[in-house]
Symmetry: C2
Subunit: 317 residues, 2 copies
Amino acid sequence: MKYSENKKYLCKNIFMSLLSIGTVAFDAIETPFGKTDKIIGGAATYISLSASYFTKNLNLVAVVGEDFPQEYIALLNEKGVNTEGLQIKKGEKSFFWSGKYHTDMNGRDTLITELNVLANFDPIIPDSYQNCEYLMLGNLTPMVQEMVTQRIQNRPKLVVLDTMNFWMDVALDDLKRVLQKIDVLTINDEEARQLSGEHNLLKAARKVLSMGPKTLIIKKGEHGALLINDTDMFYAPGLPLEDVFDPTGAGDTFAGGFIGYLASTNDVSFENMKRAIIYGSAMASFCVEKFGTENLLNLNSEMIADRVAQFARLVKF
Amino acid sequence: MKYSENKKYLCKNIFMSLLSIGTVAFDAIETPFGKTDKIIGGAATYISLSASYFTKNLNLVAVVGEDFPQEYIALLNEKGVNTEGLQIKKGEKSFFWSGKYHTDMNGRDTLITELNVLANFDPIIPDSYQNCEYLMLGNLTPMVQEMVTQRIQNRPKLVVLDTMNFWMDVALDDLKRVLQKIDVLTINDEEARQLSGEHNLLKAARKVLSMGPKTLIIKKGEHGALLINDTDMFYAPGLPLEDVFDPTGAGDTFAGGFIGYLASTNDVSFENMKRAIIYGSAMASFCVEKFGTENLLNLNSEMIADRVAQFARLVKF
């Protein structure tokens, strides 16, 4: 397919403001294909880098320690991310996660988790962020996610929350409370089953939707993602990739592309969310092709449009 | 969506002749939702019943014992299946399989396998079957599948083969030989990995394609199916279903719908195979909603068109 045919997938930026909250951290990753030292990581990093290809009005709330290199912050700024809300704690250390993926890349073991600055994260929202229209609550303690919703004076047009099984184990009540304040929840299939207590994915989805979110995204890894609300359902395929080097950050990158696309089009209809989920999937497919954030640093609109066109061709019959 | 809009998915039968080879057997199934006594089962049964909704020129080669009820054979005949090639072995017993599905329905344990008549199955092709245009080699000993290809004098327009991990374990050389004589292979993702020795599904697919088949279908259960050849790729989604009672026969039903649709349109292009894989998926989705073959007995063209329309809506963006 020629480039001209893919052109329709080029994103038209309207530049609505997007606020992302989450971790900005160090990761050390080992996969069957290689190993990294401490590199930049964290949910909010992946979300922001991914969303930066869609909207230029991008604000970040996070916390790092004194050990966090200025060059990493400069890198976010270069991508148009406003880091006024990035707290730098003197004399403290940044959050650090280290993990090793299994040979089949479908599972991983956490080797090290050092909470450090994250242990007492008090999410302060700068005044200049107050009128954000799109809010992405990246994977974090549900209580911190809830504090953010309380500290933003005007309810954003759309609130998306990402979480994980760990919070269902240790902070279920907090999580259930914050679920009532959001619009879209992103979790994976196993988490949907855990949260609902239903094995059947459709029954699980209905039950999770009854907990608060109006729309649910169930991520199924290489098998794609399901977008579902009370009346509609959409299946975004997984694009089979020849080279999958490192799945770290794929879910956050997906979320960043999803909410970034919505902010860039300022349309939160189910129809537009279908497109947003394809853009999110396209961004995640780039993410996993190299280590860490590497592949997210040098993309452009044409590359994203070409990748989205691949998704479109994959399901067309 | 109104019926009129689904009408375009109604199948137009051209009635090319289809020959199916496989097991016709007794199954006893236990799932978390219930348990059956010995009921009609076997790959060729599911293939034939599924294909019967697409083509009326349907021939069967299989073997049963004296214990096989005449009413089951009558049931196949009622559906338009020519059973001239169904051998009934006096004084012998039919193939019997009994299995129990795990609570999550994703795995199962085989409780009983009695080969009986299958131990010495000599697949005799009646003269009236000789000019079949579409050939479905259902899951069976690769050597028997190969014998069938040798005994059919005129090479059919399309040969589809289904197999399973068991034959890769015990008859890999036979399987590799028959793979060189077919057009389309259907296996699941784990089997593609086992056959190729590659974990990455795309690399696995390329390697399997180099073994003979021009087209490969990788079944991914609830996650859908992938259709792939040297130059093209298509992802058929899995339709999320509220009620999944019994996965037995889903793969065979899929294969029957796939080749049945191709025979009914007499078009083996990749574009038409995309549609065929959706029809196969639709048939499989009906199959799993009730026990055994129950749900395959009372369908009609409108119900199938409506289900195919659901698949179409699920991926449209």
